[in-house]
């Protein structure tokens, strides 16, 4: 994987470093064998598709105000109706999926960018560095994510960015823990011992053996954290501390709809449904990926 490290020849190793996949059924077949992975994949795929399509096309411009068509019922002209400003709900939901996915991706990337290296250092160095890093992670973890985001919004002003930074930092300890425990497991294997006896440096071992082996763990964790990030972004936008109006965001749409619950309750149902579906999708995908990527776990369960 890196030019500086001469590749180890597989037959000379007592254990295959990248797992025993080649004896397993092909990846897509294992995927189809897991109901969670299929259902999660379909839901997440639909949301991603809606977001991509919204970049090029939505039935109406998501920000276009048309007071004459306010509170239109769902029908052929507006499939899901219009809101109090006459904006097309379907168009806003589609554009909102982009906000949601963007917030999820950035939050998870921030969490991983800090958490994974911290976990790797903690695992490979041990001792004081490990204690310090994991102690700090525990402190951050004890602080509720939503609370941190609210406090940050109070200080720095409400925006999608502050929400994403707060969520990302708050979930950083999850990555640190998962990475550390996974890395410790890999570091205690025979093939790492062999690599060490070859004189490989610590960094090379982490790159060549630890990272590829814990990638499945990290992918599963990313999917689960993605759903938490979506939830947190929606909650913050709902409270008026995330994506500011009029930008289309599911949480903000829900907040706007709440003023008209007695007149047009459907207006609140659509974004609520979208949020729940997105969270469900990424949760199912995470659970399913765990089955697909880690067959050993499935057998043990």
């Amino acid at each position: 994987m890196s030019g500086t490290v001469p590749p180890l020849t597989r037959p000379s190793l007592p254990l295959a470093p990248a797992g025993e996949e080649w004896e397993e059924a092909p990846f897509w077949r294992r995927w189809l064998g897991s109901p969670s992975a299929v259902a999660g994949g379909v839901i997440v795929g639909a949301i991603v598709l809606a977001a991509l399509v919204s970049l090029a096309w939505t039935p109406y411009p998501p920000l276009a105000v048309a007071p004459a068509h306010a509170f239109a019922r769902p029908g052929p002209a507006h499939l899901l109706g219009t809101d109090n400003y006459g904006r097309d709900v379907l168009s806003r939901l589609m554009a909102g999926s982009l906000t949601t996915l963007f917030a999820g991706v950035v939050s998870v990337l921030i969490a991983a960018a800090i958490g994974v290296p911290a976990g790797l250092v903690a695992a490979s160095r041990g001792g004081l560095a490990s204690e310090g890093i994991m102690g700090l992670a525990d402190v951050v973890y004890a602080f509720p994510a939503l609370l941190a985001a609210i406090a940050l919004a109070a200080a720095a002003g409400a925006s999608t960015l502050t929400a994403m930074v707060a969520i990302g930092v708050a979930y950083m300890p999850v990555f640190a823990r998962v990475t550390r425990s996974g890395a410790l497991q890999v570091l205690s294997t025979d093939y790492v011992l062999v690599a060490r006896s070859y004189g490989r440096s610590r960094a090379a071992i982490v790159r060549r053996h630890v990272l590829p082996n814990i990638t499945p763990l990290l992918i599963v964790q990313s999917s689960l954290l993605f759903s938490l990030a979506i939830l947190a972004e929606a909650a913050l936008s709902y409270l008026g501390l995330g994506t500011p109006p009029p930008a289309p965001s599911w949480g903000a749409m829900l907040q706007g709809a709440q003023n008209y619950l007695f007149d047009d309750p459907l207006l609140a149902v659509w974004p609520g449904l979208a949020i729940a579906l997105a969270v469900l999708g990424f949760n199912l995908l995470g659970d399913g990926l765990r089955d697909v990527l880690d067959p050993g776990l499935r057998a043990r369960r």
Binding site: L146, Y238, G240, L254, L261, V269
Partner: protein, 293 residues
């Protein structure tokens, strides 16, 4: 946290007086609020206040913050308590039943229902409850709160929907842990021995299993209580309840930083204490844990 809030741009005095204020007025107010003193001095005074219960006065309203939080707690405290009751009422039966019916259609249905329950955020659940019980059925109020002293029954009625919104979601999460803890116990040797003595599965579980299943569940319960407290911040805003969460959000909007800091630290403190209590409770549930440590 204190440092982050203090370092960021925008002087509270400037915010209070608005953009039209003269620099000298801003300066005078800063002096009055003690904002011109060095950061570490303000920090030391704040931490001292947290310990002794003197939380200071709001930068905006000038009222003592401790009193405001105290009256807000009369709403948030019962709300979190009721939410916990609802959560346990959902999680325990569903979790145990889901484990007993493991691999049967009814068990799979329970798992699927809990998966859906987890995905519905509490504020979405709250709005759906308002639509059903307030808008469609006119059974319960859609929001607002009557103080306990004025009309206790009305107060309970206005907390009913928020507590369900809060509790059902946490209950769905908790039920999955209950289910897996009970499943572990069901597979254990001592339960098989109990079955061999002639006890039915439910009897064996009741006499020997539940206490052992409680240890992992209580661990998660601590996290769930933390989730309930933070969730209450959001749910109070759905139902316009004058609780700690509403106070926090108002203070954020007014940039009433001292109040924000006090409330955030108080909630974080409560969460830490709950986690500590959970650690201490292991020993009561399973004396072996204390003996090993």
């Amino acid at each position: 946290m204190f440092a982050v809030l203090a370092v960021l741009p925008g002087s509270p005095a400037q915010v209070i007086l608005g953009t039209q204020a003269t620099p000298s007025a801003v300066h005078a107010l800063s002096a009055k609020l003690g904002l011109d003193q060095p950061l570490w001095e303000r920090y030391a005074r704040w931490v001292g206040g947290l310990v002794t219960g003197h939380l200071g006065r709001s930068y905006i309203s000038g009222r003592p913050i401790a009193g405001q939080i105290g009256s807000a707690l009369q709403v948030t405290g019962p709300l979190v308590g009721l939410g916990l009751v609802v959560g346990l009422a959902v999680a325990l039966p569903l979790g145990v039943l889901g484990a007993l019916r493991h691999r049967r259609p009814s068990g799979v249905a329970i798992s699927a229902a809990s998966q859906v329950g987890i995905a519905v955020p509490n504020f979405v659940a709250g709005i759906l409850l308002i639509i059903v019980f307030a808008v469609a059925l006119h059974l319960l109020p859609a929001g607002g709160f009557t103080p306990w002293a004025v009309a206790p029954v009305t107060a309970i009625r206005s907390l009913a929907l928020p507590a369900v919104a809060l509790g059902v979601v946490e209950g769905a999460i908790l039920s999955r842990y209950v289910r897996s803890a009970v499943l572990d116990v069901l597979r254990s040797d001592y339960l098989r021995t109990a079955r061999a003595k002639g006890l039915r599965p439910a009897q064996a579980l009741w006499r020997h299993g539940l206490r052992n299943a409680a240890v992992p569940v209580v661990t998660v319960l601590g996290l769930e209580v933390a989730g309930l407290i933070v969730g209450a911040v959001v749910v109070e805003n759905v139902f316009t309840l004058p609780g700690v969460g509403t106070l926090l959000l108002q203070s954020v909007q007014n940039r009433d930083l001292l109040t924000v800091e006090d409330i955030v630290m108080m909630i974080a403190g409560v969460v830490l204490v709950v986690n500590l209590l959970v650690d201490l409770s292991y020993h009561l549930l399973d004396p072996r844990i204390g003996a090993r440590a």
